[in-house]
């Protein structure tokens, strides 16, 4: 088991800063995920940890050892590639045995270990097949077996599930988690799929434009986003603009242009001052249809679209100039043009200063 530490790691490709002063510590035996949109620098970060790239600045540590300028073959960090990179000229056995042969282990031991690894990933009996004779899911498992069989210090996974179909992806996701817990290995995972990240990880680093936006447990990044990017990138959210007026400790109230008052908590690390433009971030599932008798946190509007999605109804509600998205009880039916009152509990409203909102806005998932 190994602790991986990145210190101020920076990587440039020409003018583009792919990784921008990233510092993070990945603990022993942790399942850690770099999550972010494509081009955010997460794969480059992983390749720097693997030793396939070097950082222009900063350092990488495996435990106390500085491996920054160590090459891939000196690191014992096995990687599972997005395209699996199974060698087409070798059988499944030879693919998995490759790393063991490099260690010059005796043949019987290699055989034993390969069998152990293949059994672990559920591919016993496939030793003699060639990669082209395997399905995508099977190739994925061989790639995994090839990486774990060498007992690496760190297991690196670069979007390993992205080439699988949806159903298989869910299954492999569970297997991967079980396997990692069973082996107790430090695993670093890269994905753009937040659901994957949430379900697999002990902790997540949300990245954007080469920078880490927040590091935390799935619950932390979901419930206490540290900035607008995380708030809008993680999970579904709807944003309501307004002006801050009452401010008391970490609570504040904003007034929307349509005159609604929204009370909520100010995001950790931020301050609002009276009269400042602010954004209220609300998860769609936090809207309630039956408001208590209060004079705030109730929004009224006209339904533009109502969609039945099984566990809930998805409503698009126009309130003056803004449109909000809410998931509500599917048993109550609405039609277009109905007026509706929605309530949001104070704890479920997170308030951010609006500065920087224009940039984030178009990426918001609502």
């Amino acid at each position: 088991m190994t602790e991986v530490r990145l210190v101020e790691v920076t990587k440039r490709f020409g003018e583009v800063v792919a990784v921008d002063h990233v510092s993070v510590t990945i603990k022993h035996g942790e399942f850690f995920t770099f999550l972010g949109p494509s081009g955010c620098g997460k794969t480059t970060t992983l390749r720097i940890i693997a030793g396939l790239e070097f950082p222009d600045e900063g350092s990488v540590f495996f435990d106390e050892e500085d491996v920054t300028m160590k090459r891939a073959y000196e690191r014992k960090a096995a990687m599972v590639f997005q395209n699996y990179a199974l060698w087409p000229h070798m059988s499944v056995f030879d693919n998995v045995a490759y790393g063991l042969k490099l260690k010059k282990l005796p043949p019987e031991e290699i055989k034993k270990k390969v069998e152990w690894a293949l059994e672990l990933v559920g591919l016993k009996g496939m030793e003699d097949r060639y990669p082209t004779q395997l399905s995508g899911g099977q190739q994925q498992r061989v790639a995994l077996a090839r990486a774990i069989v060498v007992e690496p210090r760190v297991l690196l996974l670069d979007e390993p599930l992205s080439n699988l179909d949806a159903k298989l992806r869910l299954k492999m996701r569970e297997e991967l988690k079980t396997l990692q817990m069973k082996l107790g290995i430090t695993a670093i995972y890269v994905t753009h799929d937040q659901e994957e990240a949430m379900s697999l990880s002990d902790r997540i680093a949300v990245m954007n434009a080469g920078k880490i936006m927040q590091v935390g447990t799935p619950k932390e990044v979901y419930e206490s986003p540290r900035n607008l990017f995380v708030a809008t990138f993680i999970g579904k959210s709807t944003a309501v603009m307004g002006k801050a007026d009452e401010i008391a400790g970490d609570r504040a109230t904003i007034t929307t242009p349509d005159g609604f008052k929204l009370r909520g908590r100010v995001a950790v690390g931020y301050k609002l001052s009276r009269g400042e433009e602010a954004v209220a971030i609300i998860r769609p599932e936090d809207f309630e249809l039956e408001p208590p008798r209060v004079d705030h946190n109730v929004i009224e509007g006209v339904i533009e679209i109502s969609m039945f999605l099984g566990p809930y109804n998805r409503l698009k509600v126009r309130t003056g100039k803004q449109v909000i998205s809410a998931y509500v009880d599917p048993d109550i039916s609405f039609k277009q043009g109905d007026r509706v009152k929605l309530y949001i509990p104070v704890d479920d409203v997170i308030l951010f200063p609006a500065k920087g909102w224009e940039y984030i806005a178009y990426e918001a998932v609502a």
């Binding site: 510590t25 600045e57 350092s59 540590f61 073959y73 990687m79 060698w87 000229h89 060498v150």
Partner: protein
Amino acid sequence: MSEYKGGKSHKIKKKSSLSRRLRFTLDPFTITMIIIPVLLFTLFLVIPLGYVLISPALVAVQAGYSPISAVTSSDIIGTNLLVDPITVTTGQKIGLFPGMKYTLPSDGYILANGQRINLVKGTVIEWEDGTPYAVFPNGTRIELPQDLRSVTIPYRSPFTGEEAALITIHGIKFEGALLNSLIVAATVTAIAVILGLLVGFVFARYNFYGKTFFRILAIIPLLMVPFANAIVVRRLFAQDGPISYFVNAVLGLPYLIDVTGIAGVVLTQVITFFPIVYLNVFSSMMLIDPTLEEQAENLGARGFKLFRTVTLPLSLPGLLSGAAIVFIFSLEDLGGPIVFQEHNLLSYKIFEKISNAIKGGASAEAGLLAIPDAAIYSAIILAIALTVFVSIKKYLSLRQYAMMTKGGRWTPRARMLGLKGHLIVYLLLLPFLLFAAAPQIGVLILGFSHRWVGPSPEGFPTAENFAKIATDPALYKGVINSLVYSFSAVLIIILLGFTAAYVVARVKLPGIGVLDVLATSPLAIPGIAIATGYFLMFSQPFLRGTPLYIYVNPAVALVISYAVRRSPFTTRAIYAGLLQTHPTYEEAAMNLGASKSRTLFTILLPLIGISVLSGALISFVYSMSETSTSITIGLANEDQRPLVAVMYDQFTKVEAYQIVGAMGVILIAIQLTSIVIITMVLKQRYAFIGV
């Protein structure tokens, strides 16, 4: 070990990223991979060519004569026409001295006041009291005009015996060899571009019945048969050759046609080189996104306007690289000038001087002083070729090549031809392609004939030439030597090509582009300049007694020259293979602890072995037929002559054309076998010369 213990006090040393890049990238393996090609190219390409380029200055210093005078002398740039471009011979005039007595050796005539008086063979012309008389063999005696000074023996067809006019096409030939070389190269390039563009366009944009056959036919001229192809062209266009026979005996026209000298050189080069343009243009056109042309059509561009404004500009990379290569190939061609005995070309003058120096054996004057003029001429040819190469190098680069050969991303825009189109294709394109393939077809006939001096070959088919090659040591030694040289060259080529391609494809460092240029440049560097450079380097007296000494051991210099000249084929094939092999295959191995060299042998080589093999095979084939260095430095030692040098010898010394033909057949057989192996067994693309 680092002292980092976490916390904010840790200081990060900011190192310049270039030094980190160098430290991370340059492990011993990568350094070796860079050093091998750089060292080989420096030793065997940059230094010899540099030597050639500076030799005019060295001549001035060492030999004490002005290189300017060597360049500006009239036999280099003189503008006097040496011969009429076309001459028409109707007969030969025999001068007569009054008072003497003549007997006509054959039928002839004299003109008197515009009237023609025919005199048969055996007629006696004599003077009596100052008046000429003709006495016919039957005794008839007639008076001839007083001012009789000559009798004309008309030119007669060797086929029919009838009088005929001999039309000799010499081409424009000046006193200056440089002038001639440039005119020939420019003419050949211009014609090859027009023909190549037409053929390439038809093949890329139209479908018609029998297209596959046409395309195979169009590739035949690319089979390299040095000397033999020119011999066949010369025979075809000799005054007693098949073309004259057709015109005179079949069509019954009173003309004989003889193409000779510069015109013959141009003709041979055009049919040999136009497919280079055609294949490049074709590849370029197949790469054009069809929607670009469709869009132009939607905007109203049609027919020639569409071609001129869209298709032509987009196929310019192929056209330019093809044209440049043809220009350089024409400039350095030796086969044409030797067979047509056209010695007023720069390439021939260099060849003549170096081969004389080599045949003369080692003398006190070695190196530059043995061939000062040839070195200066070579510097000129090299400077011209380098200028051309530099101006189009981006189209010749490995990257461009890999892009051009990828193709197939979309269905090409080919239209089925109508009846009229089919007529044009069959009546114009087919005869042209057959004509272009004639030299190679002719070589097959020549090689299997007893001899071929008149309009048609004699004793066809016979295997006697091959039997002679198999039994005469002077002949079969050439075949064996060439096989050994080419095989040895290929071993060097694989090392050179693999390291160069690997570095350009995989090592990310500033300045790697230089290696791409170096690795591609032999395509455009005249062989005659390399021959000059190697002579300058390897004839130095201090090498006496070593295997490098060119007077005794031309074999070593030959092998190196083949390796350098023919390496681009392998380098390109391997580079294309590397681009098709995702780097994650190598990264996955390194992640598991495999060193770079281990990765190379266990992962990379098995994956791209086929590319290496097919590239090596192409290099082998073109090493077998390499001409310029083979006949310049290859003549030094009789026992070490390569096949092409033996062909040259057979042509010039004993005029055994049919043996040259049979050797050409051997070369064709090797090339065809390779094409079949590469395309059918290895399923790779056969990269023709210059493509």
